[in-house]
């Protein structure tokens, strides 16, 4: 059991949080049906350079919460502060990789990946050149003039990831970025993302359904309840970095994984007390 002090000491590198979500609630109006409360009073605080994951059952409002953080959706209540600026309802402050790859089918891979540069006013030909290194790094070298329909599902996801990274924001939101990948590619991308995040000093928030992936990558895991989504608990992961594949076998890994699973409602061998995690969640939000 960690007190607020310890958590802060562990995670706080600078005094200003990279992302601070406070008491955000989102409801959807639905014609002929009751309004739907998707996200209920959620608060998160993520510090610069941290890697944080969001796990929760399908439909609990994770993607909705990302839309709010990215400024694409106005919450009914609450506030989003990115690097000290109130960005509630304002776009462009964070990098956002949507759940679907959303590559524009009429643009080549290079032109898709370079979109953010074009939007910032760069010439198309220049943008194409600029995106070569990141394409190489994402294993898409040689596919720059292919169209999205000519790529596999995993390649499209990597292209979407490349586009998000090229956007060049400090804070990056990744909504199930590795969903369509095989276990091996996934694992190598985990290493790659960990390195990249550290090299570029990125602050990453990741949504995933894969608990092992969350533990493998995160400094902290937020577990959400079924809809309406609330934070049920926060699980810190205290594994040394760089982690590598070997960390999967360590007892700390197993402990963190068991804790997340139990918060998600799976019965595991060593149950954790939910109430204590609630307190921790409160402490984090406070």
């Amino acid at each position: 059991m960690l007190a607020e002090k310890d958590l802060t000491a562990m995670t706080c590198h600078k005094s200003v949080a990279a992302v601070e979500v406070s008491k955000v609630s989102v409801g959807f109006r639905r014609e002929g049906q009751q309004d739907l409360l998707a996200v209920d009073d959620v608060s998160l605080r993520v510090f610069p350079g941290e890697f944080v994951s969001l796990v929760g059952p399908s439909g609990c409002g994770k993607s909705t919460l990302f839309s709010v953080i990215a400024g694409l959706l106005q919450p009914q209540a609450g506030q989003v502060v990115v690097e000290g600026t109130d960005t509630t309802g304002l776009t462009g402050g964070v990098g956002y990789m949507l759940q679907k790859d959303m590559l524009l089918p009429w643009r080549t891979i290079a032109d898709n990946v370079g979109l953010s540069l074009e939007l910032a006013g760069m010439k198309k030909s220049q943008a194409r050149k600029e995106c070569m290194p990141i394409l190489e790094r994402c294993g898409l070298g040689g596919f720059e003039i292919s169209y999205p329909s000519q790529l596999s599902g995993g390649m499209r996801q990597r292209a979407a990831l490349a586009r998000t990274l090229l956007h060049g924001r400090q804070v990056v939101l990744l909504d199930e970025p590795f969903g369509a990948l095989d276990a091996q590619t996934r694992s190598s991308l985990h290493d790659w993302l960990e390195d990249l995040g550290r090299d570029l000093g990125l602050t990453i928030i990741l949504i995933t359904h894969d608990v092992e992936e969350a533990v493998r990558l995160s400094d902290r895991i937020y577990v959400m309840t079924p809809r309406p989504g609330r934070i049920r608990g926060i699980v810190p992961v205290e594994l040394a970095r760089p982690r590598g594949l070997a960390c999967v076998t360590s007892p700390d890994f197993a402990r963190a994984k068991a804790k997340v699973l139990s918060l998600l409602g799976h019965s595991v061998a060593s149950p954790v007390h939910e109430s204590s995690d609630r307190e921790m969640a409160k402490a984090m939000e406070g």
Binding site: S67, A70, G71, L72, T91, G92, V94, G95, Y96, L98, K100, M102, L104, P105, W106, L115, S116, E118, L119, A120, Y147, S149, R163, H167
Partner: protein, 295 residues
């Protein structure tokens, strides 16, 4: 698991009488994928024979006075008339060549102007929901209106000649392209818009990078309908409001009981329509490939 019902279905005789090609236990296997395509030559031969039979039947029926050659003319007379005209005979102050040119210029101008204006207005309505709401009912009324009713008015305003003819072709084509452009705008994927917004795009970026690429295939798909409409507009325009063009030629032929000439005009019109249609289909394919969209 196979249920009893499925088994009985598998055993049931097939209504189409097709013979099972193989059997696994009691289950009969059929081939539904036809491996044979009809040979092109065979189809062409049947088509030629069909046309020849109709023409021969017509000629014979006219020779036997079963149909009136005066009202229906005969294939031989039509052929002779066609030969005279294409030989350069002047008719009502014009030749078939200049009439042809006149009609084609009118139809293509009407097609281009109508398509560009319609698509432009349809796309620009994306910018303002209010403008769209204001304009929509008028567009629907104009769409429902039989545009040929406008012909006399157009003659009064624009005078006799190609201008009013083009105006009629524009009136016919403009609504189709406006509607298809609007459908294209409505087909814009809101998630793609979301993506662009998350990358910091403004409304102008979204218009040029999402709305236009999404709508253009829709607009292109309306080109084929529009070329037919433009030709119809030009022909009707020529009948009502002009003294040149194939439409005028047909109208003139009717007024002097030159039935063979009516047929020649109609035949030429059919050829022009087929050529324009083929041209637009080719253009459509080229554009679609250029835009990299699957049809």
């Amino acid at each position: 698991m196979v249920t009893a019902r499925q088994i009985s279905l598998a055993k049931a005789p097939r209504g189409d009488g097709s013979v099972p090609l193989a059997q696994i236990g009691d289950v009969q296997l059929h081939r539904v994928i036809s491996s044979k395509r009809p040979s092109r030559a065979k189809v062409l031969v049947v088509q030629v024979v069909l046309v020849a039979a109709i023409l021969a039947g017509w000629q014979i029926a006219a020779d036997l006075h079963l149909v009136s050659a005066l009202f229906w003319s005969t294939p031989f007379r039509i052929w002779d008339r066609g030969a005279q005209l294409f030989g350069g005979q002047r008719l009502d102050g014009t030749t078939i060549y200049s009439a042809l040119e006149y009609t084609i210029v009118a139809a293509i101008s009407g097609f281009l102007i109508g398509t560009v204006i319609g698509a432009g207005v349809g796309l620009s309505l994306w910018w303002s929901k209010t403008a769209e709401a204001v304009v929509s009912p008028f567009v629907i009324v104009f769409h429902a209106l039989p545009k040929f009713a406008l012909a006399p008015l157009l003659v009064l305003v624009m005078g006799l000649g190609m201008k009013s003819e083009i105006a009629l072709a524009v009136a016919l084509t403009v609504v189709t392209s406006l509607f298809t452009a609007q459908s294209g705008v409505r087909a814009v994927d809101s998630d793609q818009v979301k993506l662009l917004q998350s990358l910091g795009a403004n409304r102008r970026d979204i218009f040029f990078k999402i709305v236009i690429p999404t709508s253009v295939p829709w607009i292109i798909s309306a080109l084929r309908i529009n070329i037919g409409l433009a030709l119809a507009g030009a022909i009707i325009g020529e009948m009502v409001a002009s003294n040149n063009g194939i439409g005028h030629l047909i109208f003139y032929a009717g007024s002097i009981y030159d039935v063979a000439l009516i047929w020649v005009g109609t035949g030429v019109l059919a050829a022009v329509a087929v050529l324009m249609y083929a041209g637009v289909t080719l253009l459509e394919k080229k554009l679609m490939i250029g835009l990299h969209v699957q049809m």
